[in-house]
Symmetry: C2
Subunit: 590 residues, 2 copies
Amino acid sequence: MTSPKQRVDDWLASFESALRARDVRAAADLFAPDGFWRDLVAFTWNITTVEGPDGVADLLAATLDEADPSGFEVTEEPTESGGVVEAWIRFETATGRGTGHLRLKPEGAWTLLTTLRELKGFEESQGGRRPQGVEHTLAKGRLTWAERRAAERQDQPYVVVIGGGQGGIALGARLRQLGVPSVVIDKNERPGDQWRQRYKSLCLHDPVWYDHLPYLPFPANWPVFSPKDKIGDWLEMYTRVMEVPYWSSSTVRSATYDAAAGKWTVTVERDGDTIELRPTQLVFATGMSGKPNYPAFPGQDVFRGEQQHSSQHPGPEAYRGKRVVVVGSNNSAFDICGALWEHDADVTMVQRSSTHIVKSSTLMDVGLGDLYSERAVAAGVTTDKADMIFASLPYRIMHEFQIPLYEEMASRDADFYARLEKAGFRHDWGSDGSGLFMKYLRRGSGYYIDVGAAELVADGRVKLAQGQVSHLTADGVVLEDGTELPADLVVYATGYGSMNGWVADLVDQPTADRIGKVWGLGSDTPKDPGPWEGEQRNMWKPTQQENLWFHGGNLHQSRHYSLYLALQLKARYEGLPTPVYRLAESHHRG
Amino acid sequence: MTSPKQRVDDWLASFESALRARDVRAAADLFAPDGFWRDLVAFTWNITTVEGPDGVADLLAATLDEADPSGFEVTEEPTESGGVVEAWIRFETATGRGTGHLRLKPEGAWTLLTTLRELKGFEESQGGRRPQGVEHTLAKGRLTWAERRAAERQDQPYVVVIGGGQGGIALGARLRQLGVPSVVIDKNERPGDQWRQRYKSLCLHDPVWYDHLPYLPFPANWPVFSPKDKIGDWLEMYTRVMEVPYWSSSTVRSATYDAAAGKWTVTVERDGDTIELRPTQLVFATGMSGKPNYPAFPGQDVFRGEQQHSSQHPGPEAYRGKRVVVVGSNNSAFDICGALWEHDADVTMVQRSSTHIVKSSTLMDVGLGDLYSERAVAAGVTTDKADMIFASLPYRIMHEFQIPLYEEMASRDADFYARLEKAGFRHDWGSDGSGLFMKYLRRGSGYYIDVGAAELVADGRVKLAQGQVSHLTADGVVLEDGTELPADLVVYATGYGSMNGWVADLVDQPTADRIGKVWGLGSDTPKDPGPWEGEQRNMWKPTQQENLWFHGGNLHQSRHYSLYLALQLKARYEGLPTPVYRLAESHHRG
């Protein structure tokens, strides 16, 4: 019996020796026929998954000489389960140091994940490399920390990050640590206002273990689900103590790329002044939701009440005793209906298409518990390990891992779903039964993580109407089947467009079209048309517009992928070679 | 050969069985003749060290029935070195759970440290006990986190903490976690202003590993020596995210104790309003330095220049080209002289008595390196372990451990000391050669941690004068030997009085006198008169004034001892029995 460690050591030795010999075929043949290699920037200067030995051969043929990898070794004792050996590894390339994860089957490597963790010669100042903070030699004219910080604010940035929510803040913190001159621009008065301004009962729907930002984890007393004002305070505090270069009360008006100079001209309005920045790199961190979809219905002009997109909804306080129709049945719709009901509004939800619902507690336990929970922490699954394990599953087969979890959830909460269906609510588990995460990754919509509002629909405290909106009258909403829903307020919880809509607004439409749709996998499921992409479209990686990037997603993604985006930007800032393997084509405009 | 583990297990079993049998003598005889037991609140509801078997017997006779201890066991593999076995232990009492540290010699226990870590039934909401943050059932009228926080601010506190520097903040955070209604009152506009307002080149003289606050450690990129504005930002943000109940811009005007009611009346000025609070407990966290010592010299009234206590010094900017005399030669004096020199002032330091100087880098390496450093972290010495190891050394013998470290420092930096002496500087290593920490613990003064300014004195860039001040003239300072030092500014870096001076100001002089001197060990060395106390006078433990406490010290002490003070307050808040063993007598008025 070969031990799991021996099997991994043997595989790594064979792999490294094939790589050293530049024998692409021999290296590729170490993968199982159904094997995958997912690379986050280490070999490809891209975020890429290749499939099978031929995919591996293609990747290696293109990248091997530049990457010049070596030093593959395990970092802890590999484990074996059901014939699959799992191992944590590290390695080096010509420019950096990486870590990874390997699953071996008898036929060869099933999944290999390689990630770039740091650039040689540009390691972050942490632990033993942390700054001194003071020089122990006095000198005339030396600047204090506060003076140096103030002086920095005058410098032209190399990177402009548009949007200072959790995504922009996490990226800004990484760029700061890497010494890349940057500025994060946000329209609000204070970091965290993105959360503070939302309806007052909002709490994060993801649990604390999933939500840590880079460098500074939440303390052990942090609530499982952060109340919105508390996460707002944390983001503000984080921005300050991590010294994220952050311009509040500032709005980007336009951005123009000068291809010859390789630089952007970004026009910013800041406290009434118009400022022109000349960064090399431009990152859109404007929220993965993109621009609000405000639907067009006949009669919107004659309706005498108030109309809002869900993103404009100010909260329930002003609507006590009012009749409210909420068009939509996803997260925002449920949150808004619930808060309105709590404030004694008369609320009707209009469900236009089926929705996937999971109870938050069940999702936490079954869906996230192995990776992000107190249980996971106790089992040694650190945040970084959890992120890596999640990243190690190729998107092509991720749904196969998800389906059984959702089957378990369906069985655990069978009563709940029966009640919802009895109330006339149309419920689904995703087109292939793979549930919430796949819906999130494919389309970023179509679900509700139930934190209580589903019960209101199930028992009729929030009324439910089914069907498409036909038109509005002076007094309310009329559905296609003729149902009339009298309303003082209509809330359109109708979702968001693709993030490249922001590019159309700030750069121009041709650039937005060339970049194409942002988000989604090409899974050929509703709202995620094919062809298959293998990775999320345009996120955290080079796009069809030179020096233009997208960053965002939930707190987990902001934390983890900000590292790879920051390293790509740092490498360019330092003038390192960054040959991109297989820049993704664009198949859809938005 | 008995293994270290076996020796410890045997000792603990014998100890526990003697305790269970209430056989005080048998338990006491398990200690070596030169043994010590230091208890932090677990048995004694006090901070106490007893010496030898008789001391142990006395402690046990008084506390055993109430404490009812059990469950002594090791928490990790004991180690042995030089005939001494060291072990980490845990145990329970009737009211709480504790941890401890044990050193065994062949003759019996050499040092035993017992510390209370939590009260049964009142465990902190951390990790698996963390709050949910949201209730997953909607309900009309439920309050949000922000609304609950706002409502709290109206409640009468059980504890009023005067002073919102690092000490008040750390204690406030612990009380918050323990659910004790409290308020921390500070005169400044923002938490951290205590640091921000000091001279601009100030950095902490203690390194980051020594400085962590409870619950939320500094991130790995935090500088070794925090610049003062950066630590100011951290304290402000810490206060916010830890939800420390904190009143800024508020000043306590007076406090009166009603012994019959067992309550204080505390008058606070807040933003122009006068507010009366009725807490049960009053904590002075006004800075271990206490009130400035402003010396009285003849001629202060005729001097035409400016005079300041070091605590009032605004920084060097306004004194470029001016002649400054700094009276004193400890930390503040050196810091101020250095910054003035950097800003082209003409600076003279007046040394009145000998000073102990160690180079910061040497102190970090030799003095702190085993406990608080990157090296210690790498060796598994967590902050909590380091605090416990430091706490495990009885003050009676601590100097014996310190002396060899300072001998090593003297040898390492022999050139440096030779240069200082050649410049006429009078240097010492403490009255018994035990160096800086002992000076700090005994008298809180008499030293400088050199961050560069000593070189200015050694090479004459900062001038040095020796002797006592005779008087001031219109133009400067005259020493007893007749030396005239012309001055535009005189800075009195003449230290601080005992913290009970604040009690005299806010309560009354009889109460301050009854409480007596705060700080010091009774070591019968300069500025720390005997008799021997065994613990720091009046710090973090009951005093001669019921329901009046002192908290403070450096960041290490604020962090560690805030736990024991918070648990003492929590126990009283919950009405648990807290019989105090051997309340310390007061021997000195201040």
